[in-house]
Symmetry: C2
DNA sequence: TTACTAGCTTACTAATAGTAACCGCCTATG
DNA sequence: CATAGGCGGTTACTATTAGTAAGCTAGTAA
């Protein structure tokens, strides 16, 4: 048999752990271009609930993949979310998963 | 605000749903090259239990990403798992996630 | 005979996700 | 002024998934 040459480094494990949480991949993928507000993302990802979107956005913010901005010059106050550089480089890979899915 | 131009097609959703199950990504990634038997995968992926590995392998087999072979010419009987063409094209994308993780 | 390995499965508990209702703030309408 | 509605969530409760530990079948090995 083969032995496994790609050792699992903690960073790789962490990346897969993040993406293994439900909706995380789809959220990042959906955010690939531009800024979105909470309800836009809700509308873009059918089945995703406000509770989990809220939880995931906090996780992604903490992971440094997403930036949250309160735009209080608008009325009513809007909150927009956008990918950081780190986030959008990951989203680029996720676009390849979508390509793969389409064969 | 932006509108989201990447419509979520069912195939893309299905791909992310598969990868959102815990360990699926790591399993495919770990299988990227060659054949592995059950206990090799267990050893390669710390934290993964026999129960879930068994469940995941069945799912991946059903999804057509993994091929299971019982090698009864060996004693004791060995079972080996390898990626199908479909599986290894996905694993190639997962390798990019690992690259991303290493920055 | 006893022990050990491979490849699982089963029963049970803990963690994660889904559902529905509700909140505070602001604006628009009657 | 009252009330209705949208935005961006939170809370409480249920259902689904994952983790843990034990055990099982079949085949060596000592």
């Amino acid at each position: 048999m083969n032995n496994i040459e790609t050792a699992l480094c903690p960073k790789v494990e962490a990346a897969f752990t993040l993406l293994a949480k439900k909706w995380t991949g789809l959220i990042l993928f959906s955010m690939a271009s531009g800024e979105y507000c909470f309800n836009e993302l809700m509308a873009a990802i059918p089945g995703l609930s406000a509770r989990l979107l809220s939880v995931r956005m906090r996780e992604l913010e903490e992971a440094g993949l997403v930036k949250r901005q309160v735009r209080d010059e608008l009325s009513p106050i809007r909150v927009t979310y956008s990918l950081t550089a780190k986030g959008s480089s990951l989203a680029a890979v996720l676009l390849k998963i979508a390509e793969w899915a389409n064969n």
